[in-house]
Every structure is written in C-alpha cells, then in structure tokens.
C-alpha cells in the first residue's frame, strides 16, 4: 500500500515587501523530491473550494500553496467579506500580487522535498494572474483557467486595477496551458484566439484547450457553472502538463 499521507495547514509566508501574509498549503509526507504548485484563487476569494484544489494537488504528488491575496485588507475575515472589501478597494494591484506569488514560489523551493521547480495555476481573475507569473515570477509552467483581460480592454470607467497583458507576451518565459469555455464572455473565444495568435507569433510554448457547452468557472464544483466533462478533461490536461514540466 503506498504511503499517501498529506499535511494541510495554514501558514504565514513572506509576500510582497516582506509582509507576512496568510497562505494555505498541502504537502505529501512521503519523501521527495517533487515539484511545487502555486494555486491562485478566484475573485470570490480564498475559500473552501480553492483549498480543496490545493489539497488535490498534494494528492497528485505536489507541494501546493495558495496565498490569501486579501490578507492585508481583511485579515481573519470570512472569504466573502474579504472579497467584498478587496473589490471595494479596487482589487489587488499587480505589483503586490507578483510579490506575494514570488514569496510563495520561494517558500515552495525552500521545502526540503522541493525539486526546485514550481508551476502556477489560477482561476477566473487568478487565470490572468497565473499568466502574469509566466512573465514576472520564476515559474516553470503556468496554467490559465479562463482568465479575463489577458487580452482585450476593460470597459471605460472600470473601477478595478486590471491591465491587459497583450503587450507583455514577448516576455513570457514559461510554457502556458490555457483552458477555456466556448460560452464564456470574459474571456470570449475571440479573446482566446487573439491570445493564441500572440503566443504563436512570439514563438512561445503553449497548449490551449477549449470546451463546448462550458462557460466561465467550469471547474467550480459548487457552482451551477460546473461542467464535469470539461473539468475532468481539464484536470487530465493539467496533470499531463505539470508531469512534463515539473
């Protein structure tokens, strides 16, 4: 019988500016070495569903961590209250996110079981942030699950701090896996086409999969957007992608 014990716990790590920020981690207790996975939560926050995803990556054999990106605005608050506070404040600035993500990647690499390789994955607004890690953070693979505004332009008067990343595609340094629903509007199939074209033109390593009968948040098992066929295939693509690069 294989030894499959997993330790899951909340920790403090050093994020942007050396700030201590809250994070949730799950790690196999079997000896390594193994890769690490940085999970980036969706806009509704650092919630139970996201923590389940962290534990799933540990069950798949990775050291996994998710930083509470709303730690500073709402320490100790319930995820929905924290998300509401962050939204009212204009969202998470990219610079701060990058500092927190880099801190989490450093934390993963410092584990005695680390093989030195780290992948990122993000959902919804975290999909865009995962793409940003492929530009700004030392990651060896990045998975963008339906991130909006990687390309495209936010509407005029848009109150949140979200800047498109199309002009930064030449700086992408890690392979990118993109998983998208064809019924999504943000990102729309046209946005996905545009991003794919930019990655192709710049000679980047990428793999996109698009699912019919799926819209935004098709991985979210506790929401009506859940689409088991797309989510099951998506998980297989993620396992294969990380298997190759981590």
């Amino acid at each position: 019988m294989p030894y499959d014990a997993v330790l899951a716990e909340t920790v403090n790590i050093h994020g942007h500016g050396g700030d201590l920020v809250e994070a949730y981690t799950a790690r196999p207790l079997a000896p390594g070495p193994r890769g690490g996975v940085l999970v980036i939560h969706h806009m509704p926050g650092y919630d139970r569903g996201t923590k389940e995803i962290v534990r799933r990556f540990a069950e798949l054999g990775y050291n996994a961590i998710c930083v509470n990106l709303y730690s500073r605005e709402a320490p100790g608050a319930s995820p929905d209250d924290a998300a509401a506070t962050a939204r009212a404040n204009g969202g998470v600035p990219d610079e701060r996110f990058v500092g927190d993500a880099a801190g989490a990647a450093d934390w993963l690499r410092a584990l005695p079981t680390s093989n030195g390789r780290v992948g990122s994955i993000g959902y919804c607004s975290g999909g865009r942030q995962a793409f940003l890690t492929s530009i700004e953070v030392d990651v060896q693979a990045a998975v963008d699950c339906y991130g909006a505004f990687v390309v495209g332009t936010p509407p005029e008067g848009f109150p949140l701090q979200v800047r498109p990343l199309a002009d930064r595609v030449p700086e992408v340094h890690a392979p990118v896996l993109g998983l998208f629903g064809n019924e999504d509007s943000y990102p729309s199939p046209e946005h996905v086409d545009e991003l794919e074209k930019l990655l192709q033109e710049n000679g980047k390593t990428y793999e996109f999969h698009r699912y019919d009968d799926a819209g935004h948040a098709f991985f979210a098992v506790n929401r009506p957007a859940y689409r088991p066929d797309a989510a099951n295939d998506g998980w297989q693509r993620i396992e294969a992608f990380y298997g190759r690069y981590l």
């Binding site: 509704p44 709402a74 608050a77 009212a88 919804c124 949140l160 935004h216 929401r223 009506p224």
Partner: protein, 85 residues
C-alpha cells in the same frame, strides 16, 4: 464570466444591520458576478460596507436579475413618493 463589473457609491446618513447590530454605512458596491450563496451562475450583488469597522461590517445581498429589476422599480416609486411627504 467573471465580469469584474463593479459600480461603487459613497453612502451618507445611512445605516445597515449586520451580525453585530446597526452601524453607519459609508460605501456600497454593486456588481454582476458569481454569487456566494444564490442559486444562479451570476447575480446582481450589493455590498453595503463600513471599511473603517473592518470587513465584517457588511450587509450583503445577491439578487436574481428579475428581482434586481423589481427592486429598481420599487426604489424609483418610493423615492418619487418621498417628494410628497
């Protein structure tokens, strides 16, 4: 979709009641996005907030589009009638 679509207003001379009782409100955000609890994929969400009292000082609703439309009409009617009082 995760619309990010958010409207924000300053709130004055208004109060809300949360788990810890009544408190003065200072901000409200209105957005169409995923709900935490309501059964639709997207809802019109309103958060009445008092940031100086912490994230828990919040009165939140998640409304179906039909309900949000009815609420707009009811607010309009009530505000119009208030002129006569």
């Amino acid at each position: 979709m995760c619309t990010y679509s958010t409207e924000r207003i300053e709130v004055s001379r208004s109060s809300g009641k949360g788990p810890a009782g009544w408190f003065p409100l200072s901000t409200a955000t209105v957005y169409y996005d995923h709900p935490v609890h309501a059964p639709d994929a997207h809802t019109v969400n309103i958060d009445f907030l008092a940031p100086d009292r912490g994230p828990g000082a919040r009165v939140a609703v998640e409304l179906s589009l039909d309900t949000a439309r009815e609420l707009i009409a009811a607010l309009q009617t009530t505000v119009e009638r208030a002129k006569d009082h």
